[in-house]
Amino acid sequence: MADKNEKDLDRDLVGDGIHSIQKVIQPHKAYSRPVIKYILIGVSVLFLAVMLGIPLIVVAVNALSDGWAAYKEAVLDEYTVKALLLTLLATVSAVAVNTVFGVFAAYLLSKFYFKGRQILATLIDIPFSISPVIAGLVFILTFGNIGWMGDFLKAHDIKIVFAVPGVILATIFVTFPFVFRELFPVLNAQGKDEEEAAALMGAGGFTIFRRITFPHIRWALLYGVILCTARAMGEFGAVSVISGHLRGKTNTLPLHVEILYNEFNTTAAFAVSSILVILAVLILIARNIVEWKRK
């Protein structure tokens, strides 16, 4: 660089600057310093590998540690299949309920002005900041034997706590705001001019929603459904409190994993876990595809 420099410059322009050129020519470190970049990338990769990557490998290795046959047996076990079915039922219910709620609530809060909007938005968020164990507890305190609805339910022979409805309710509770949270910012950013224009032209509520609002939230809705599915499928604490761990009846897949693990049936526990890992990875892939499409 220095050679080229001296050749190219007229003497008079350089003036007495020959010394300063030499002083100046060393490129500053900050100008071309990939060291920090590689350190930071290295730290990130290491952190993610230790925290996220290796646990997944642990599941895979342990699930297959007793061979393929043992794996198949654990996965196709009657109780595993029943647990899977209950998990699917709870997940589908939670997604359905929370989608309906999310659409109505997001529409309400983004298209209308009324007193108490802020409070309503805060209330919807509550399940986010609550321990899942407490989420389970509130249903025991409501519908359980000691709950204020306990006597009524007993009189009509309805079982919620330690039964399938309880599992579903708890799952709905912990995933309650998920769809709403994805829809609300999108609808809010869109404003309400289009809806107002359509309403002034005489369109009805359903037509407005279907033709105008819905196209805006398609991807956000799908995104919210995916997040809701992930959380509902994996819910453990809340369901653990309320299910009563009745094998084959109120056991979801995560609870089944716990039971197997506590029975020191480690291989089976990891084998069942691997089903959940596969589902989780599929959800992550779906999430990334949807996010990519949205952009």
Binding site: D8, L9, V14, I21
Partner: protein
């Protein structure tokens, strides 16, 4: 020549922002880089500042080639288009930033900050935060912050773009006076020909990454050298101005 660009070429992702740009500015001059948007004027400014590097050519400041010198070592003050004031620092802390970085003593920093606050007539506003200031005040703070480390060259990127039309004219005069008082060589970028004609000693007219003409506002108006300059400059508007000059 205090600042000199020699055969500068710069390409961004296939877009030629500068094509063989050469010009010089004498010490103490206030120069305007004027041109339509996309003409490459901001790129030139950023290359002088060391925020972008030219692909080819040399940049000289005070006779020294500075291509490989980081912007912070070039003795340059830079006023950004949106001022880029640090939101979480007070006006005084913003101005002091460049001095703190140099590890100047507390008392030295304080006296310099006070001096600059007085210069920009904001003596009592040192404890304010940027969000508590008007647009014009923000510009003055940005100006003071750039001047704090005592630069030999002041660069301003569209200094009046973020200010509403009413106060713009006022600020123009103010800035012109300030620069004269401080006596720092300055270059500012603008797309507004009136601004360039009224404020600058020297106008560098750019178009499509090339320099169309360099000259005093008078020369640009009265002796346009290319068709582009003739079309771009609305000479009639400045007749009155040219008579004064």
């Amino acid at each position: 020549m205090y600042v000199e660009m020699r055969h500068i070429t710069k390409t961004f992702d296939g877009f030629q922002a500068s094509r063989d740009v050469s010009f010089g500015i004498e010490k103490g001059f206030l120069a305007a880089l004027l041109g339509p948007s996309g003409s490459g004027k901001t790129t030139i400014l950023r290359m002088i500042a060391g925020l972008d590097r030219p692909d080819e050519g040399d940049i000289l400041i005070d006779g020294t080639r500075v291509n490989d010198l980081p912007g912070s070592k070039r003795g340059i003050g830079f006023v950004f288009q949106n001022y880029a004031l640090f939101r979480y620092m007070t006006v005084a802390d913003n101005i002091a930033f460049g001095l703190e970085v140099q590890k100047k003593s507390k008392s030295e920093i304080k006296s310099r900050v006070d001096e600059l606050l007085e210069l920009i007539a904001m003596k009592d506003l040192g404890k304010r935060y940027p969000h508590q200031l008007s647009g014009g005040q923000r510009q003055r703070v940005a100006f003071a912050r750039a001047l704090a480390p005592d630069p030999q060259l002041l660069l301003l990127d569209e200094p009046f773009a973020a200010i509403d039309a009413k106060v713009r004219r006022e600020l123009r005069t103010w800035l012109r006076e300030m620069i004269e008082r401080v006596g720092v060589t300055s270059i500012f970028v603008t797309h507004d020909q009136e601004e360039a004609m009224e404020v600058a000693d020297l106008v560098i007219l750019t178009n499509q990454g090339r320099i169309e003409q360099i000259g005093s506002p008078r020369e640009i108006c009265l002796q346009p050298q290319t068709d582009f300059v003739r079309d771009f400059i609305d000479a009639k508007r400045f007749e009155a101005l040219m008579d004064i000059v």
